[in-house]
């Protein structure tokens, strides 16, 4: 008998599944009746929206570019954030205070404004050790989006390190470890478990923010959408916007959900 009882969460999932199915059916019905012409337009343009080229290959932009941008930004943010995070934990005020100021400045800046500032601040190219390093718009977008994420990641690191019980420091020091060794062998090992969900939590917002990169002029999904819309009639616009909105959800939702599950799993254990 127990096997047939629908629990609260099962019923909830069932309703959500029904609504999702309802949307799919509605699209199918709409496509079969009045909206077929509009959906055909979307379908024709879909490879372009996804990859930046009308045939789907090679990848020159589109939603895939947003994904690449988010991954590159995340990598840069992880590196920068680690440096800033450890900087804010430094015991030397000369290192700690500027780092704290920088982190707070970046955390309080709007992403869009920071992106614009990066865009205008960085030159087209820069001479570093005799070689000319170019700064194409994509690189500027990577940096502009990495900055606020790095600041947020440094806060994650700081929180995780501070959550390690102070007794661990005392114990390690009494065993003769120096500060670097304590970080490497004792604190970071324990803090890592706390950091991973926090780090993952930063990714979905970053992916969502890649939509802003359209202001740098790269061929991301929004830039392509804008170019396309100039050629389409008013009514089709609705269909295009819905399509793009629903490109983000299946990509971002699972990542965000996994991050939250990890976070909940870590919350219970005491360090």
């Amino acid at each position: 008998m127990a096997g047939f009882v629908l629990h609260y969460d099962d019923k909830k999932r069932a309703v959500q599944l029904l609504i999702t199915l309802g949307v799919v059916v509605w699209i199918a019905v709409d496509a079969a009746t009045g909206g077929s012409a509009y959906w055909t337009r979307v379908l024709v343009r879909l490879p372009l929206l996804l990859t930046g080229s009308a045939t789907g290959w090679p990848v020159t932009g589109g939603f895939v570019l947003n994904i690449l941008l988010s991954i590159a930004s995340m990598a840069l943010a992880t590196a920068l954030g680690t440096i800033m995070g450890l900087g804010t934990l430094a015991r030397v005020g000369l290192i700690r205070v500027p780092n704290l100021l920088l982190v707070n400045f970046l955390r309080n800046s709007p992403w869009l404004v920071l992106l614009f500032a990066t865009l205008y601040f960085l030159p087209f190219e820069m001479r570093i050790f005799g070689t000319i390093v170019p700064f194409p718009p994509f690189v500027k977008a990577v940096i502009g989006l990495a900055l606020p994420t790095a600041a947020n990641f440094s806060e994650v690191i700081r929180g995780a390190v501070q959550s390690v019980h102070s007794g661990q420091w005392e114990a390690a020091r009494s065993l003769g470890y120096n500060t670097f060794q304590i970080y490497r062998h004792v604190i970071m090992q324990q803090a890592m478990r706390r950091m991973i969900p926090g780090w993952m939590n930063l990714y979905a917002p970053l992916m969502i923010a890649t939509a802003l990169a359209t202001v740098t002029g790269i061929q991301d999904v929004l830039t392509i959408l804008n170019t396309l819309l100039a050629m389409e009639n008013e009514r089709v616009i609705v269909y295009f916007y819905l399509t793009i909105l629903f490109l983000f959800i299946p990509y971002c939702y699972p990542i965000a959900a996994i991050a939250r599950r990890l976070e909940r799993a870590v919350k219970g254990d005491s360090l």
Partner: protein
């Protein structure tokens, strides 16, 4: 080193633009923040009722709005709501014009975006309420509603405050994206000014500083509120 030129700032016209921009940014932020808090409270209350279909709907709403770019939400509201029929006929000209202004579209979509984040924050606040506190209230004879208003709500509000601070600052920062749909807020006027003066870097640095100053004030105010509301003797958590 950078050779920054701020002589344009002496022009009263640009000063006025900046001022109007700041005022409109504050208006947009205040309006959408209040609406977001209201949506958050209603949504969290909806969760506590434990009605499965309502719960399912609220959760879908939250996931859709927090997993899509707010910029896209605003563009969608601005460009498509009028196409979908939200239009009125202007009596003076007889032309069909969109019912909602750019400002209204931005305010609505920001409220929904912030509301989705707020629902989640309030819900986790209620969920982290120690179960034993609820037991204590019940054993003292508090009924469902008295318990909610006298015990759970005051405690949950304090637990939620840090999360709420994050959401309000996030929302304030996101108002800058309303410039893309021509809402005349600070970022929009920044564009107007550098189109006039070609001083892009100077304008952006100034505007960035203004935003950071405004967000810092908001953060500090919320920190003061958190300190004022904190449970004496407990530090930040319970």
């Amino acid at each position: 080193m950078l050779g920054l030129d701020y002589s344009w700032l002496a022009d009263p016209a640009y000063q006025r633009w900046l001022l109007i921009g700041v005022v409109n940014t504050l208006k947009l932020a205040a309006l959408s923040s209040s609406a977001a808090i209201l949506i958050g409270m209603l949504g969290a209350l909806g969760f506590t009722l434990r009605i499965f279909w309502l719960d399912a709907l609220i959760e879908l709403f939250v996931e859709v709005f927090r997993n899509t770019p707010p910029l896209l939400q605003m563009l969608f509201a601005y460009f498509t709501l009028s196409t979908l029929g939200l239009r009125v006929t202007d009596p003076s000209t007889g032309l069909s014009v969109p019912l909602l202004s750019a400002f209204a579209c931005a305010a609505i979509s920001l409220s929904l975006f912030g509301g989705a984040l707020a629902i989640e924050a309030f819900r986790s606040g209620i969920e982290t309420m120690p179960r034993s506190i609820v037991d204590a209230a019940r054993s003292l004879g508090y009924g469902r509603w008295a318990r909610f208003w006298r015990i759970e709500a005051p405690i949950a509000t304090r637990i939620c405050l840090p999360g709420l601070t994050n959401i309000l600052t996030n929302l304030f920062k996101t108002t800058s994206q309303a410039s893309v749909i021509t809402v005349p807020e600070l970022m929009y006027y920044a564009g107007q000014i550098y189109n006039d003066t070609f001083r892009t870097l100077e304008v952006m640095i100034l505007v960035l500083l203004i935003y950071v100053a405004l967000v810092s004030i908001l953060t500090l105010a919320m920190a003061r509120l958190e300190a004022f509301m904190a449970f004496p003797g407990y530090g930040r958590g319970l």
